[in-house]
Amino acid sequence: MAEVAQNDGGEKKKGAQKKMTIRVDFTPMVDMNMLLITFFMLCTTMIKSQTLQIVLPSNEKVNKEQQNQAKESEAITLILDTEYNDNNKPKVDGETGKTIHNIYWYQGIADTTFTKPDFIQKEQFVGDARENGVKVQQGIRKILRKQNEAVMANYEEYKTKWKNREITKEQFDSLAKKNAADSTLSRPVVIIKPGPNTTYEGLINALDEMNINQISRYSIQLPTHTDTLLIQALEKKTGETIIRPTIRKSSNPS
């Protein structure tokens, strides 16, 4: 390919001309290209980051009466916690290499008698498993999904329709949005309470579960004294140390 055969065009001349072959050596060209490719590969971001939209309530003070009170039976409280190792670094699971986040959750209004067994329970963020080709929810997702059954049933129906190309992606998105906010269905209100040792990843995981389980009503709050007492009650029951000293001091006066 890199040869150019010089021909005299078939015209015969007296002195038989030698056929000339011009070979161009492309090796340096390839070398240079490789260098350029390496440069571009190192300097680019191929994966673009994703974003998670979040809307927080305004900081202005609202009267107790003006607040929308959630029905007790619909409320689920998730207290988040991240485990730390001795070096003050988030503890990592040996097998998967992922940080260990724990969730302590309870349903309804806090049990202030602290006597009900199994009122508060421990869960973790676990991905879906596949059993005989069917998606199975595990961990906290299973619990949240069960609470949001009515919404999820419709959601799955829309999803199948979309997968079968009966509706477009846009139609699916708008249907799913409307469905998640449908006040005629029984929907839970989730209160996410990140504890003092929680990392940012724990919070994102919790927000992710809201998205996955189509929960439209959730809020982020700080744990209260009652929550601490509830966890202490759980500690007493299981013999596990859950409340550890806060390794990070917040300089926020609040």
Partner: protein, 273 residues
């Protein structure tokens, strides 16, 4: 029987095809690439199932460093994320990143000096130029002039050292929009006012494209929350993130986005035991 003749073979390998392939690859990388922006610290964002892409234009990124990557810090109180801020303008309009940064700086310094009449900071043309050329910066206002007087390599070195007290934008204190704002809130106010200013000037005979770019910027920052993104490390303590949320809420910027990496529903960052 004569000996079997061994043909002399040339070892010359034809590199033309190879070169064709490499040029193709090169073209691909050149066309798809967006250059990495220099950031003072490496941040590993947590993963999420959200598929929404980060906007390319009109974005204010609030970078929160992880507690401590170097392992140098021993005082737990000091183990806190540092805040950096970066402004991205519109790629092909009059409001490029540089212009936006300049406007933001003018506004922010104006607000700061208004509130700190006894110790105002001075922004010379050279400092302003240095700010316009820097992608990401994180320093208290009081330390900003000194930082901008440094050479680029010196500045990078200072900004990269998270143990320094003059690195990171202070976010502590103040829960009141009207009181004396902390440095981070001054920036937020500047962001809001600049986008509003630009929006209000729209009538002054701009082209349709320019007007649209301005509208986008205004919407991104004030309405749909796409214009403000928090980029925090997965190990950043929630207390730091909560403080940022709180500051944003105080400044009535209730909608914003969190930067994440993509994952599937099967994988999440924790496992059952």
């Amino acid at each position: 029987m004569g000996k079997a003749k061994i043909k002399k073979k040339s070892t010359f390998i034809d590199m033309t095809a190879m070169s064709d392939v490499t040029v193709l690859l090169l073209t691909f990388f050149m066309l798809t690439s967006t250059f990495l922006q220099k950031e003072p610290t490496i941040v590993y964002t947590p993963s999420s199932v959200s598929e929404e892409k980060v906007p390319v234009n009109n974005l204010v990124t609030i970078l929160v460093s992880s507690a401590d990557k170097s392992g140098k810090l021993e005082d737990p109180a000091a183990v806190e994320g540092k805040i950096f801020i970066s402004f991205t303008g519109d790629v092909d309009s009059t409001f490029s990143s540089g212009t936006i940064r300049g406007l933001m700086l003018d506004k922010a310094v104006g607000i700061y000096n208004e509130q700190h009449k006894t110790a105002p900071i001075e922004m010379t043309a050279a400092r302003r130029k240095a700010f316009m050329e820097t992608n990401m910066i994180g320093a208290p206002f009081a330390a900003l002039p000194a930082l901008l007087d440094m050479s680029i390599s010196e500045r990078d070195k200072v900004q990269g050292d998270l143990t320094r007290a003059d690195v990171g934008i202070p976010i502590n204190g103040n829960k009141d929009k009207e009181g004396r704002l902390n440095d981070f809130q001054v920036w937020l106010k500047a962001i809001y006012l600049v986008s509003k200013d630009i929006h209000d000037q729209k009538a002054d005979g701009l082209t349709a494209d320019e007007a649209k770019a301005l509208e986008d910027l205004y919407n991104a920052v004030t309405k749909d929350g796409r214009g403000i993104a928090i980029k925090a490390d997965k190990d950043t303590p929630f207390t730091t993130v909560e403080m940022i949320f709180d500051n944003l809420q105080t400044m009535s910027l209730n909608k914003f986005s969190l930067m994440t990496a993509l994952t599937s529903e099967e994988e999440v960052s924790s496992t059952a035991k």
